[in-house]
Amino acid sequence: MQQDALARARTGDPRAFEELARSEERALFRHVARLLGPVDAEDVVQDAFISAWRSLASFEGTSFRAWLFRIATNRAIDVLRSRKRRAELPLDPPADEPASWAEPADGGADLVEIAGNREALAVVEEALGSVPVEQRAALLLRDVEGFDYEEIARITASELGTVKSRIHRARLAVRNALVLRGWRGAAG
């Protein structure tokens, strides 16, 4: 059905494009909102849709969804980079710098059993906010939106090894934040 709407949109049918956009609106917004915050995300997503409509003729490939996410993610990162000129934001650490694992404290909740715990989710949300945006984007594209590593590499215009490193570092940062709040790791 999406392929049919895409084919019609490519012939210049605006209603077909609106149909496609409606099907991706929520996912695109939740992704951009986690990169920028909800207020700026509304404008960025709307701009991304308009930009996609105007450049639909240049879309090549089969995944319209990945293409939309690429446009929206690039716009979000551009907005964040313009904010960097005004405020300090974490930069991507050098690739060869080893990621460190915080040591779990004794007596805390088992990390593997806390999925769904509201407090844990709040810690995860906070930890994600302090992770560099490229790592955050890669992790969200993987764990929330379900893209595979190859798609993420195309969306973020980066190498497969870079995607792998970013996802690992972002997950590790979140894991360390949880451990430092008293959660201990699984017994094994």
Binding site: V112, E125, K164, H168
Partner: protein
């Protein structure tokens, strides 16, 4: 040597088959790495479980041109809203004070002064009719005349009383209630606003 950097990719099934097999072999004999793998898997679940923020409005741009009937419909609803507001104001004024209906304009002013005139005429006619009635019982030869006088006085009084009785009842109203016009004004105004939003270009 613990292949910690490969753990996340292994969680995601993104390692090449040979690398995945080698890592599995390592995990079989390394509880520390198995624990870390479990932690990263839990983190992936937590990130996936984060509550999704929702937009406050629709973010899909309106790309299709609006239907041809939309602009005229909006113009009509704006006009209707104005007319209903005017009707509400007139209706409200008449409901509060019918005498404020205006000067020499026919239908609006007529009933109230006519009512007063009819009342005073009925009062004047009632005088002779009353004296005719009072004098009638005392004078038998004049009874038919008195009866006639009474009858004509009664007819005259009735005729003048009818307009007098009618005049207060002829209070001018514009529709059943001013709030009807107000309601219609609000409905047509809301329709005009909704159509205006639909007409506004989004791209």
């Amino acid at each position: 040597m613990h292949p910690l950097a490969d753990l996340s990719a292994h969680v995601d099934g993104a390692l090449a088959p040979a690398a995945a097999a080698a890592l599995d072999a390592h995990l079989g004999g390394c509880p520390a790495c198995r624990a870390k793998l479990g932690e990263l898997r839990s983190v992936a679940s937590l990130v996936a479980a984060l509550p999704a923020p929702r937009p406050r409005r629709s973010l899909v741009p309106r790309l299709a041109p609006p239907p041809l009937w939309l602009a005229p419909a909006r113009a009509l609803s704006v006009m209707a809203s104005g007319i209903f507001v005017f009707a509400f104001l007139v209706s409200a004024v008449l409901a509060i004070d019918p005498s404020m209906g205006g000067g020499g304009k026919g239908g609006l002013l007529g009933p109230a002064p006519a009512a007063r005139q009819a009342e005073s005429a009925a009062g004047n006619l009632g005088g002779p009719a009353a004296s005719a009635v009072v004098s009638a019982p005392g004078a038998a030869p004049s009874a038919p005349f008195a009866q006639g006088a009474r009858d004509s006085a009664a007819v005259a009084a009735g005729a003048s009383a009818a307009p007098a009785a009618k005049a207060p009842a002829q209070r001018l109203e514009l529709g059943p209630s001013p709030f009807l016009w107000l309601g219609l004004a609000l409905v047509s105004g809301a329709l005009a606003l909704a159509l205006r939003r639909r007409l506004r270009p989004r791209a």
